[in-house]
């Protein structure tokens, strides 16, 4: 009886450890997904809105549409392991049509444990760009780019491992034109 009891206790401890490990992994994956619904109210103010929600299923669906040429292979490599990509971008006619409070919910999520601010670029004219990375041990489990410009607000949330180098190389390649949306704008007389 005593042996049986000890065996049950050992099994229970082992099962609890496995459960805790799985739970922590699931929690890490969930924490890399940001809640972007707080930004939905800005859609009414924005002159242009981009809203992309690609969950894991849609990632598979999109991958199935990729052909077998070299470009598509590179894209498949890039998105391999990514569980979702979520983009919200708002472009406004005038400056200060959104406030820091509108972004505070996003920042609060990025202050949670696990997220690390990788890069923070500050510019009075062109706004700030912050790059956050969620580490799962030594690997990247998520990426968030928060771009707050005077007339534009963009949040990109990638759930899952992502190669920053390949992602940066994406623009202007694979048949996707380099739109240069972020290139320095020509100065006007008012700015001078």
């Amino acid at each position: 009886m005593k042996l049986l009891f000890q065996q049950i206790i050992k099994t229970l401890i082992l099962g609890s450890l496995v459960l805790a490990a799985s739970a922590s992994r699931a929690t890490a994956q969930d924490s890399s997904r940001l809640r972007l619904t707080s930004l939905d109210a800005l859609a009414g103010k924005a002159s242009e809105t981009v809203d992309v929600n690609i969950d894991e299923r849609l990632m598979h669906v999109a991958a199935s549409a990729l052909t077998s040429d070299d470009d598509s292979k590179e894209i498949k490599k890039l998105i391999n392991g990514i569980k979702g990509i979520y983009v919200k971008s708002f472009e406004f006619e005038h400056e200060n049509e959104y406030s820091a409070a509108d972004v505070e919910d996003i920042r609060a999520q990025l202050r949670l444990p696990g997220w690390s601010k990788l890069v923070n670029v500050t510019s009075k004219k062109e706004g700030n760009v912050e790059v956050y990375v969620l580490f799962n041990g030594d690997t990247v489990g998520g990426l968030t780019i928060l771009s707050t410009e005077p007339k534009e607000l963009t949040v990109v949330n990638i759930v899952g491992p992502v190669d920053l180098q390949k992602l940066a190389e994406f623009e202007g390649q694979f048949g996707i034109p380099d739109l240069g949306l972020e290139s320095p704008k020509p100065k006007t007389k008012k700015e001078d």
Binding site: L4, F5, I8, I9, L12, G15, S16, L19, A23, A26, S47, E48, T49, V50, D51, V52, N53, I54, D55, E56, L58, M59, V61, A62, S64, A65, L66, I79, I85, V87, S89, L118, V119, V121, S123, V129, V131, T139, V140, L143, I145, S147, V156, I158, V162, D163, L164, L167, A168, E169, F170, E171, G172, F174, I176, P177, D178, L179, L181, E182
Partner: protein, 190 residues
């Protein structure tokens, strides 16, 4: 008179000693079998701790299994909810008539594809495990699935492009006015 009688009962006994023997002899040990009364109730103290521990183990294991199953079912059902109840919004460009996007001016057709709302799949195409029958079992995509795949691909490319643009902007800001795609010079992560 000898006192041997007191020692080993030899010799002539003393009457007083004999009288004392007879009086005290009634109290001498008399062997007899053990008799247990029928109405005797034996109360044993049972140790319930092992049974309670085993029961608690099973209860905890059941709770853990229930939580595991619930988490797993929620995780697998999430994409299904997004598809059926809240169709994943296609990349939408809400543009006022008087506005002109940079892309439209510079590159002709809008780079942000106007994708019509995705049609929800019929309910009978959804298996109980949250995966679609037709996609899993039928290798040949139907027209609707091909359309959905193309839309998803367009969304994916646009999302990747936006992310790439922002990363390149960061790279340009941090490394001066270098050309695009120089983030390779930074620390590679992932």
């Amino acid at each position: 008179m000898k006192d041997d009688y007191l020692w080993d009962k030899s010799g002539e006994p003393d009457p007083e000693v004999q009288q004392l023997e007879e009086i005290l002899g009634t109290l001498r040990y008399q062997p007899r079998p053990l008799e247990i009364p029928d109405d005797l109730i034996v109360q044993r103290r049972r140790n319930y701790f092992p049974l309670l521990a085993i029961a608690a183990t099973f209860v905890i294991a059941l709770l853990a299994a229930g939580l595991w199953y619930r988490a797993a079912s929620q995780k697998s059902a999430a994409p299904l909810e997004a598809q059926v109840e809240q169709p994943a919004p296609a990349p939408t460009v809400q543009q006022r008539p008087e506005d002109k996007t940079l892309a439209t001016e510079n590159h002709g057709p809008s780079p942000l594809p106007r994708v019509p709302p995705r049609k929800t799949q019929p309910a009978n195409s959804v298996a109980f495990n949250g995966k679609r029958h037709n996609r899993a079992s039928a290798p040949v995509l139907t027209a609707a699935q091909e359309k959905e795949a193309e839309e998803a691909k367009a969304q994916l490319l646009m999302a990747l492009r936006v992310a790439s643009e922002k990363l390149n902007l960061v790279q340009r800001k941090t490394q001066g006015a270098g050309g695009p795609n120089q983030i390779r010079n930074q620390h590679k992560i992932g």
